[in-house]
């Protein structure tokens, strides 16, 4: 059969010239189109990495702090010359501790205490924070007066920057903030092992300070913690209750339709508008104190509620009707059905939505600026009614500081904030993976 076929095939006239349907051009367009897509994704990812890298590279040094570890003589001559500390309790609080520290450093450097110019430069190598550092030591244990103790003193911000290599030491002396003499002393101290970078616990525990080396996010962390507590305690029950009503009980009428549209819109209202609401209602009308974590928590609660309601409704919707039908069929009331069966099954979804809402609230800054949380708070707030700041507000305040060392602190605070957010989001993902049920 194949033999007979071949002459026939030969008789077929040459195939008509292929109609040009522009296949090359079209495939090229196809390839271009794909490249656009890849380029767009790469652009997005590139900037994600740039952002994280820029924060990370500027900020990781904030977790180290230069300390000068030297023997300090708590000279009775300077602290309490006339031996009045038993009669005058303010004596120990107001003593001239920076001089104590300066003399100790001068002794360690072998400098001449009579040279005032040199002594001033030596004093500038130490942070203002040494005052409270030494004061706290002496007040805690007055018996150390007159003895010599080895103390790790905070170095000044400029010394810290120079040691971390953030300051260009090649520029002429007049154009930089530390002198050649100080650089020489730095080298001398480093060789002696007295000047070293240590892990910076201060950034986690200290309050606000105008000196970068003594500033920390302690107060802001407590403030944020209070606010998150308030948001969680208020928005989770209210959000869940509202969603249960809207999803399970509400009749379909204009009123519930209005509530629905309203919630969707509230989720898209700019956050700063919530700040205005908090300012005029909670502070102006209800008379709550400014800068208090309570007001911040209430404002963030209102802001988070729509997110939680939307997530909870989706979770409730995902529970199959057969569960409800089975419970109702066995004689459970509607309320029992929902609270004993539907709600537990929807719980993983609800919690995931809540954690994501909380993470958003944690990073929110704008409304907090309006209710006076931009405040210099150096002491830990003991109740939610006390003045406090929040982590993102602290970042905002530091971002506005001019000093170079604050850029490092700001990035460090951002890293702390991002770590919190990562923990929360990973928690949400794990929760979803672990408990999510597909029906």
């Amino acid at each position: 059969m194949t033999n007979t076929a071949s002459p026939l095939a030969g008789a077929v006239p040459a195939r008509p010239a292929r109609r040009d349907i522009g296949i090359k051009r079209r495939y090229a367009a196809e390839r271009r189109f794909r490249i656009y897509g890849i380029a767009a994704i790469s652009f997005g990812l590139l900037f994600l990495f740039l952002l994280l890298w820029s924060v990370g590279s500027k900020g990781y040094t904030a977790f180290q702090q230069t300390m000068i570890t030297i023997p300090v003589e708590f000279s009775e001559q300077i602290i309490d010359k006339d031996n009045e500390r038993d009669t005058d309790p303010t004596k120990l609080m107001t003593a001239n501790y920076p001089v104590v520290a300066r003399n100790a450093l001068a002794a360690a450097l072998g400098a001449d205490p009579g040279d005032r110019q040199q002594m001033r430069e030596i004093g500038r190598m130490l942070s203002e924070g040494v005052r409270s550092q030494l004061r706290n030591m002496v007040v805690a244990d007055p018996s150390i007066i007159g003895t010599t103790q080895t103390v790790s003193l905070l170095a000044a911000g400029e010394i810290d920057s120079a040691l971390k290599g953030q300051m260009n030491l090649d520029v002429p002396e007049a154009n930089r903030r530390i002198s050649d003499q100080q650089v020489g002393w730095m080298e001398q101290l480093t060789e002696a092992g007295a000047l070293a970078k240590e892990f910076n616990t201060g950034i986690f525990f200290n309050g606000a300070s105008s000196r970068p080396e003594a500033a920390g996010v302690g107060v802001a962390l407590i403030g944020s913690l209070y606010m998150m507590g308030i948001v969680l305690v208020l928005s989770l029950p209210i959000g869940v209750a509202a969603s249960i009503y809207l999803e399970e009980f509400a009749p379909k009428n204009r009123w519930t339709d209005l509530i629905e549209v309203n919630i969707n819109n509230l989720a898209a209202v700019p956050s700063i508008v919530y700040g205005l609401l908090g300012l005029s209602v909670f502070i102006g009308f209800a008379g709550l104190p400014r800068s208090a974590a309570l007001v911040g928590g209430l404002v963030l609660t209102l802001m988070t509620l729509p997110t939680i309601i939307i997530a909870t409704r989706a979770a409730l919707k995902a529970v199959p009707p057969s569960i409800r039908a089975a419970a109702l069929g066995l004689g459970a009331s509607k309320m029992q059905t929902i609270f004993h069966h539907v709600l537990p099954l929807a719980m993983p979804g609800i919690l995931t939505g809540t954690i994501i809402g909380l993470a958003h609230a944690l990073g929110e800054t704008a409304p907090l600026l309006l209710i006076g949380m931009v405040a210099f708070v150096a002491n830990y707030p003991t109740t939610p009614m006390d003045p406090a700041t929040a982590l993102p507000v602290q970042i905002y305040m530091w971002a506005n500081e001019a000093e170079r060392a604050f850029v490092e602190r700001t990035s460090g605070a951002i890293i702390i904030l991002l770590l919190f957010l990562i923990v929360m989001n990973v928690g949400a993902i794990l929760l979803r993976r672990r408990f999510e049920r597909r029906w």
Partner: protein, 494 residues
């Protein structure tokens, strides 16, 4: 008795109510012939609700009403010449009385008597006890303060008695209702339902609160500054709010702020829209499931980063980079090494905001593109179109209304964004079209007018509320229109 202690007592009575009520129900169930209507827990809850709810309501009403009543009765006793003065002066006096009253509580009875005899020494006396006074109190203030303390003490005592009495009465009333025929479950469920409804009304209350609070302040503002000068003014120059002086003239023109807002939003959309839509198309149509599951969450991380971080990124990295870049470019082109892009500029803020918006555009569009039915694609591919042609001619037109809705929602986010522009856009309110110069936005001005301690009486602070309600109205319109578009066209292809 302090409020928290009262709350604790009420909670304890409620708990006792639950335990005793449930026990009584169990006892009846064991003994009585007719079966109990509800489970014992419901009888317990019923007693607890009666013991708690009315008492808490009384407490709440009392806490709100009592200070108002005390305040007004103290003010009624002000001397006549003071009553003739302005509201602000009266508030100031009342504040002083309040601090004197607080001060009197730390003094011993002898010292109080001495203070009443000789009010001039009071300030020194209280200063020594750690209670600072703003000025020397007048004699009538000291007696008013004593009266204030007395009234507050009486009110608190009465409140404590009323609340605890209500709790106990409620407890016994409900406890006596426990009987086999009594439908405790239905009653308790009614209370639960009522609380669910209350919770869902909070959303409405929030909106009402936003609109009402901003409207009242904005109306106050419009009484000082005519509305048309605000909405159509082209100069923004509020001056400083001098303390007490309400008449220092300033110019409050919205137009320059609105122009800056829209310009920066436009730049942001120019960055975010192409990138976001192309990412969404690639992710929905080309990417393998593995790539999709890796890249999509990464892009969404961009949406989870707080905006303050973007602001800092713009301030310390993007802004200086663009400034130095422009210096170099200018130098290469003209030999004059000076920057033509400012560190704080429309382009800096817009660009960084655009990056922030990418995930909003991409995930919303992704959902919409994936929702286009399979059959449409198969039809087009079957007719010989390439994939890109299918996307361009079939999928995108089908998804267009949804995508437009998504873009409108993204635009409303760009308009309401605050922290990036506060840090990266600058504060100079001017109208110009050079994207390399700083401009300012509505949100920046809200923040700068309200940061710091100011009273709500000058137009300088009240203008923030007028700006706020403008912003709220714009974003609300955008969102409602977006929802409308999405709803109208959603089912066309299903």
């Amino acid at each position: 008795m302090s409020t928290s202690l009262i709350l604790l007592i009420v909670a304890l009575i409620g708990l006792a109510g639950y335990v005793l009520g449930a026990r009584q129900a169990r006892r009846l169930a064991a003994a009585a012939l007719p079966k109990m209507h509800s489970r014992p827990g419901y009888y317990g809850s019923y007693v607890a609700v009666w013991a708690g709810l009315p008492a808490l309501l009384i407490l709440a009403v009392w806490l709100v009403a009592s200070p108002i009543y005390v305040n007004s009765s103290i003010r009624d006793n002000f001397p006549e010449d003071l009553k003739a003065q302005t509201e602000a002066a009266q508030s100031l006096t009342f504040g002083t009385i309040g601090s004197v009253a607080r001060g009197l509580t730390v003094l011993t009875p002898e010292e109080v008597a001495q203070a009443q005899a000789n009010p001039g020494e009071l300030r020194v006396l209280l200063g020594g006890k750690g209670v600072p006074l703003a000025g020397d109190p007048e004699p009538f203030m000291v007696s008013a303060a004593a009266e204030l303390n007395a009234m507050n003490a009486t009110s608190r005592l009465a409140m404590t008695i009323a609340v605890i009495a209500a709790s106990v009465v409620g407890f016994f009333y409900a406890y006596r209702m426990i009987a086999p025929r009594f439908r405790a479950r239905n009653k308790v469920e009614q209370v639960i339902l009522a609380s669910l409804i209350t919770a869902s009304c909070i959303a409405i209350l929030t909106t009402v609160g936003i609109v009402a609070s901003m409207l009242t302040e904005a109306i106050q503002f419009f009484q000082m500054v005519p509305a048309w000068e605000f909405f159509f003014g082209t100069v923004w120059d509020p001056r400083f709010a001098a303390a007490g002086a309400t008449d220092s003239a300033g110019q409050f023109g919205l137009i320059p702020l609105l122009a800056g807002t829209l310009y920066i939003g436009f730049v942001a959309m120019v960055v975010a829209v192409p990138v976001g839509i192309f990412s969404a198309i690639y992710m929905a149509e080309y990417a393998s499931p593995r790539m999709r599951s890796a890249v999509k969450p990464l892009l969404e991380v961009l949406a989870g980063i707080p905006t303050i971080v973007y602001g800092f990124f713009a301030l310390t990295t993007v802004g200086p980079f663009l400034r130095d870049l422009s210096t170099q470019l200018n130098g290469i082109a003209t030999g004059n090494y000076s920057n033509f892009i400012q560190a704080q500029s429309v382009i800096t803020a817009g660009f960084v905001m655009g990056i922030m918006l990418i995930p909003y555009v991409s995930s919303l569009s992704d959902d919409i593109i994936t929702a286009v039915p399979r059959a449409l694609r198969d039809g087009s591919l079957g007719l010989g179109a390439t994939r890109s042609e299918t996307i361009k001619r079939v999928v995108l037109p089908a998804a267009l209304p949804g995508i437009v809705g998504a873009l409108l929602m993204t635009a409303s986010r760009a308009i309401g964004e605050t922290m990036i522009v506060v840090l990266a856009a600058g504060v100079a309110a001017r109208m110009q079209i050079n994207p390399f110069e700083p401009m300012t936005t509505v949100t920046v001005k809200i923040v700068s007018q309200l940061t710091g301690d100011l009273e709500f009486t000058s137009p300088q602070t009240l203008v923030a509320f007028a700006l706020g309600i403008t912003l709220f109205a714009i974003t609300l319109c955008l969102n409602i229109y977006a929802l409308y578009i999405v709803r109208k066209y959603r089912e066309q292809y299903e």
